[in-house]
């Protein structure tokens, strides 16, 4: 279990006029693992990441990046020395060549890894003397990745890294992420692609409408989360499913579906006692969990 957090926020809030992009976010990202930051478009992922890096300022609340406050410019600056970042834009200075961009970036980070730089240049097949402004989108993304990965950073933050990439490039990207994690870098990446997160992440934080709605390890989802569907012969079923390990409860006619986050057996037992005629248990995929959580939020909003 990880005890140190590379990212920690306390009631972090970001307001744009009346719109709250991030609401009282209490995010904790543990060291030494890959954490996926999952959410729909506009859920507040980019806003959160920008606040962590000091690119934008919180409206209220606080946070730390590698143990240093994100509000204090000098501290945040020091943390950034050990953080590698791939922005959503994945842009580099158009007037510089690939080689110049690498030399420029390299000069700021003592943890630069020249071997990795050479390896990635070869793997990505980047034309080093070509100007950035004439590179294709795919090439620019690869350059942005190289600038972040050719280092032995403590933390790697990526904002929607697979956006606009073809499947082969996505595969290369995920391999690179996993490679970085293998070197000891903590990886934190935001995405709205559930499949990617499910494949490589150890841990997932789900954000919806600016709030954290889930913070769990993927092993826990696979091992403990269960979707249990109870069928009752009485209508409506007189059941009360509240308490430990209940994620959500949905009633549909004579069926009650419980999303259990743990103690599935105890919940099944309770269903028996309530006289369930049929009980169907299934594991929960990340997609199902995500949709369940996000739909629940929208239900609450309607109420």
């Amino acid at each position: 279990m990880t005890e140190s957090y590379v990212i920690e926020t306390q009631d972090l809030t970001k307001r744009y006029r009346k719109f709250e992009a991030v609401r009282n976010l209490n995010l904790r990202v543990g060291a030494g693992r890959i954490t996926g930051f999952l959410g729909r478009n506009g859920a507040g992922k980019s806003s959160t990441i920008k606040m962590l890096l000091g690119i934008s300022r919180p409206s209220s609340g606080s946070g730390t990046l590698l143990g240093r406050s994100i509000d204090v410019a000098a501290q945040c600056c020091e943390s950034r020395r050990h953080v590698a970042y791939v922005a959503e834009d994945k842009q580099a200075y158009g007037y510089m060549t690939v080689a110049e961009m690498i030399a420029f970036t390299r000069s700021f980070y003592p943890d630069w890894n020249v071997d990795m730089e050479r390896r990635l240049l070869k793997q990505f097949d980047l034309p080093i003397h070509r100007k950035v402004r004439v590179l294709s989108k795919g090439m620019r993304t690869k350059l942005a990745l190289l600038l972040a990965l050719a280092r032995r950073s403590r933390l790697l933050i990526l904002d929607e890294p697979s956006e606009g990439l073809d499947p082969v490039s996505i595969e290369e990207l995920l391999q690179a992420l996993v490679g970085a994690a293998g070197e000891g870098t903590t990886v934190f990446f935001s995405s709205h692609q559930i499949a990617e997160v499910e494949r490589v992440a150890d841990h997932v934080c789900i954000i919806d409408r600016g709030r954290l709605v889930a913070d769990t390890s993927l092993d826990q989802i696979r091992r403990d989360y269960r979707r249990i569907t109870f069928g009752f012969s009485t209508d409506p079923p007189r059941v009360d499913f509240t308490g430990e390990g209940i994620g959500s409860v949905r009633a549909d006619g004579r069926q009650v579906t419980v999303m259990a986050t743990r103690n599935a057996d105890a919940i099944i037992e309770r269903g028996h006692r309530f006289g369930a005629a049929s009980i169907d248990t299934n594991p929960v995929s990340l997609r199902e969990l995500f949709l369940d959580l996000v739909k629940e939020e929208s239900r609450d909003a309607l109420v």
């Binding site: 030494g32 693992r33 890959i34 595969e171 995920l174 391999q175 996993v178 490679g179 994690a181 293998g182 070197e183 499949a195 499910e198 494949r199 490589v200 992440a201 150890d202 993927l218 092993d219 696979r222 091992r223 269960r226 299934n282 594991p283 929960v284 995929s285 990340l286 997609r287």
Partner: protein, 131 residues
Amino acid sequence: MAFTLNPSSGQPLYLQLMQQIRHAIETGVLQSGDILPGVRTLSQQLVVSPNTVVKAYSELEHEGLLELRHGSGAYISSRSAKKTRSDRFRRAQERVRGLVDKLRHDGLSEEEIQRLVEAELFYPASANRRS
């Protein structure tokens, strides 16, 4: 050595990996002295978190199937052969027990059962099928 991990099934990935490695050892695809890829290599090959590989390898080391030698990788332990042999032996024992019970139930005497088994071993009818 190819493994297939399914991220959406209800089973943690490291358990899936462990099962597949165990299966490979049992069937003899992986034998004692063989070496599995390092954590970084395997995680990149499978495109999964290195923690998954680390957990699987360390659990298997606890079970005695793998030997993790720092710096050189994960070796299939020599004890694993014995362990799987003993597993196989145990399962064979259960099968034999089941067969003997069934033959007794059909009314054969112990002598008859023994003669049948010996005959099969000396002149295996299935040998013709195999060759």
